[in-house]
């Protein structure tokens, strides 16, 4: 079958294979190769909670402009295991081109380009090389000079021993030659505009963005217990602990992690804990302790679908209620909900200063979908907050919980100054000593709750996208950002605007008039109950007219939002 096809502007390539087949490697090398050629690229993953087998996919989008959303559409499907086509069947269209092994040819209506992956890999002596052959094949379709491809392969496998590098180069070259032939035979061409400046851009992922943000925010203590999808940050910081001078400890459980974090802040550290919903559930008593002892704390809560173990490797925005209500008793907190990699970086950095300044727990609420996103990025935003402690040198008469007009008591630490620093999870007096005096109790609660007002004063305003005279207003928070933006671009409906919340608590009240102004308010959330809509109602009394909810474990796609908005 010969069918002429030209791809313009934007192409979506999906790599599908078993866990252990090395898709992630192809993804990384392919992205770098494309970037070097001047294409904007982004990648999103979905994978099973298993170490071998199953079907995992990576979607790589290549475009003439920055893109980052997930699309259902598949233009090119590379099938490395025979089950893959079935796995993504709902996303195939008649124009999808399937690249598959010669032995797994199926009777499909689509154009199927067969490649002897297994045979070549076998000739080269290693089954795993199929992925590099696929890489070569794809590079050819994108008209990348073969030398550039080989350079990238060398760079990527450079640390490997023996003949692994040479075998990979040979696999890439053979894949490349076959790709060239196929492109010629079927008259396939990619005519996406390239931009030489992309060459110098970074390729950034969510985990790195958060970890680097933490470092810039002055993080120097991390105690965590591994749990997907939060583990990437733990791993990154552990691997760089030495150059950044960060104490990193894998705690025996999340309870220990949280309580270690609080001990560190008490002694002058700037601590963060990283976890997911289940682990955070174990941290909630410690969260309440942060409230009681007025300790700063940064909680990086990477969401995945619950309840309980749920879908360990998939995505959801289902833990907003948890972050909002966790911990017994009344105490203030702030919740950041970054929706872009830039914001993950920025808000993670800012979380340390905010927590330190107001002596409160601050959440960074992300999710698997956003964290496993990679894309080209020219710069991280500049961070202007202080990355050093808001601590005071104590005097002999120092009292940790001194009543002040603002509600903030200057925070001292042991061993810095001449005072004594006492913190207590029991209700306490100004000196930190246990008290049951009802007046002191009330005054302490009032003092702690005053900080809610301070947090509100500094709250991040939601970002507005659209024309002034909108009728319909979309509300989104966190990871739905890119899909909403791209869906709106496609619709180009001047009546529709978008309000993106990067901080949901304290609720930014400057949003109220913007919401009131809309005739129709639509809330987009990756959860089953509309947790943000509930928060909106509780804090402002405002109701949304429509909720677009998704809770099957996958992120919103641009197409489904175009249909539903």
């Amino acid at each position: 079958m010969s069918s002429q096809r030209t791809f313009q502007h934007d192409i979506s390539v999906v790599l599908a294979g078993e866990a252990g087949q090395g898709i992630a490697t192809v993804e990384q090398v392919f992205m770098r190769t494309l970037k070097t050629a001047g294409y904007h690229v982004s990648a999103t993953k979905e994978y099973m909670s298993r170490v071998r087998g199953g079907t995992n996919t990576t979607e790589i989008r290549v475009a003439s402009r920055p893109i980052a959303a997930f699309v259902d559409r598949i233009d090119l499907l590379v099938e490395l295991n025979p089950k893959a086509v079935d796995h993504v069947k709902n996303r195939l269209s008649s124009s999808t081109i399937i690249i598959a092994d010669e032995n797994s040819v199926k009777d499909l209506p689509q154009l199927v380009l067969t490649v002897p992956f297994a045979r070549i890999a076998q000739e080269l002596g290693d089954r795993i090389l199929s992925n590099t052959i696929a890489l070569g094949f794809l590079a050819a379709l994108f008209d990348i000079p073969s030398q550039e491809l080989i350079d990238q392969v060398r760079r990527s496998f450079g640390k490997k021993e023996g003949d692994i590098i040479e075998k990979n180069c040979s696999a890439a070259q053979q894949g490349f030659d076959l790709g060239r032939q196929a492109a010629f035979k079927h008259q396939l061409s990619v005519q996406i505009e390239r931009n030489p400046s992309v060459k110098k851009e970074m390729i950034v992922g969510g985990h790195e963005a958060a970890a680097l943000g933490a470092v810039v925010g002055g993080c120097n203590f991390l105690a965590s217990y591994p749990m997907s999808p939060s583990t990437g940050v733990l791993t990154f910081l552990a691997q760089h602990a030495d150059e950044f001078g960060i104490v990193v400890e894998q705690a025996e459980d999340e309870i220990a992690a949280m309580n270690m974090g609080l001990g560190s802040w008490y002694a002058g550290g700037r601590a963060m804990v990283t976890t997911s919903g289940g682990g955070f559930s174990l941290m909630t008593e410690g969260l309440s302790l942060a409230g009681a002892i007025e300790s700063p704390m940064v909680i990086y809560l990477a969401q995945r679908p619950g309840p309980a173990t749920g879908l360990p490797t998939r995505t959801e925005q289902g833990d907003l209620d948890l972050a909002l209500y966790a911990g017994h008793g009344d105490f203030p907190r702030a919740i950041f909900t970054p929706g872009t990699l830039k914001d993950i970086f920025l808000l993670t950095a800012m979380a340390f200063d905010l927590a330190d300044l107001y002596q409160v727990p601050v959440f960074i609420l992300t999710d698997q979908g956003l964290l496993d996103l990679y894309h080209t990025l020219s710069e991280f935003p500049a961070v202007t907050v202080k990355a050093s402690n808001h601590i005071v040198k104590t005097t002999p008469d120092y009292k940790r919980y001194k009543f002040t007009d603002s509600g903030l008591s200057p925070r001292g630490i042991p061993g810095f100054g001449e005072g004594i620093v006492c913190v207590d999870s029991d209700e306490h007096d100004e000196g930190g000593y246990i008290t049951e005096d009802s007046q002191t109790r009330k005054a302490m609660v009032d003092k702690r709750m005053k900080k809610h007002g301070l947090l509100l004063k500094d709250v991040l305003a939601p970002q507005f996208f659209g024309e002034k005279d909108y009728k319909k207003l979309i509300l989104g928070w966190g990871s739905s950002f890119h899909a909403i933006r791209e869906a709106m671009e496609q619709q180009s409906d001047l009546d529709t605007a978008f309000l993106y919340f990067r901080q949901v608590y304290p609720f930014p009240d400057m949003a109220i008039p913007l919401i009131e102004k809309a005739k129709e308010v639509v809330c987009v959330e990756n959860n089953a109950s509309g947790q943000f809509a509930k928060l909106l109602r509780r804090e402002t009394g405002l109701a949304v007219h429509k909720k677009i909810l998704k809770y099957d474990g996958s992120p919103f796609s641009v197409e489904e939002l175009v249909r539903q908005i």
Partner: protein, 287 residues
Amino acid sequence: MAKTIYDFPEAEISWCPGCGNFGILTFLKDVLAEVAPDPQKLVLVSGIGQAAKLPQYVKGHYFNGLHGRALPPATAIKVSNPSLTVVVTSGDGDMYGEGGNHFIHTIRRNPDITVIVHNNMVYGLTKGQASPTSSRGFKTPVQANGVILEPFNPLAVAIALDASFVARIFMGFKDHSEEVLKKAILHKGFSLVDVFQPCVTYNKLNTYQWFREKTYFLDSSHDPKNRAQAFQKAIETDKFPLGIFYQQTEKPVFEDQLVAYRDDKTPLFERKPNLDRVQAIMHKLRQ
């Protein structure tokens, strides 16, 4: 009573008259005055319970956290500023029950902290339920027919985990207690001191007299470097040995092994983020 820098006469002590905690408080302050003469460099850490209130009655820094959770913050405090001396005081329920997992793993970690467990074999603050160390048959309002569980043996567990310093004292023997406690605090690494402490209100079984009769001092025939012998001593329950069961100095200390302190000994509060390294990583991401 000797006056020490750690005395805090204003403290309103909420222990029952006659409680064994008073004795511990007295000799702990004496010992601290000697081995930790700069109060600025001492932090007491506790969980929740009657024993855990001890830091309230000492003039010094303290972190009085959650029930069962004294060890994680104590470890983090030590690690965040290794120049501090960190001493934990908590009850047997706190340390061996609610905090059992931290007990195990903090021993494995081996930070240079001292852990004093006021072992009264009962839950004091919550009014007399069984604790992990209560004897079989001990009756309480909850264990109405008597405890049917085997008592937890903290010393045997600690020695099994190769803890670096393991000792037991009875608070009624002040001089001996002071001597052991001093060594515990000066020991570099995790030190466990399990303290027999009578609870006069809720434990009518394990009284002052009972502890006197049921204990004896380890003598010079015991070699604290001998782990097997230490274990053997730890599982003696007819009469409970007192003294230093086990001590070793070879075990690496947690904070000394952290890469964060390898080239730079600055405590965390004096550190600045290494932005040049951040730039270097970003540069790499561009390649």
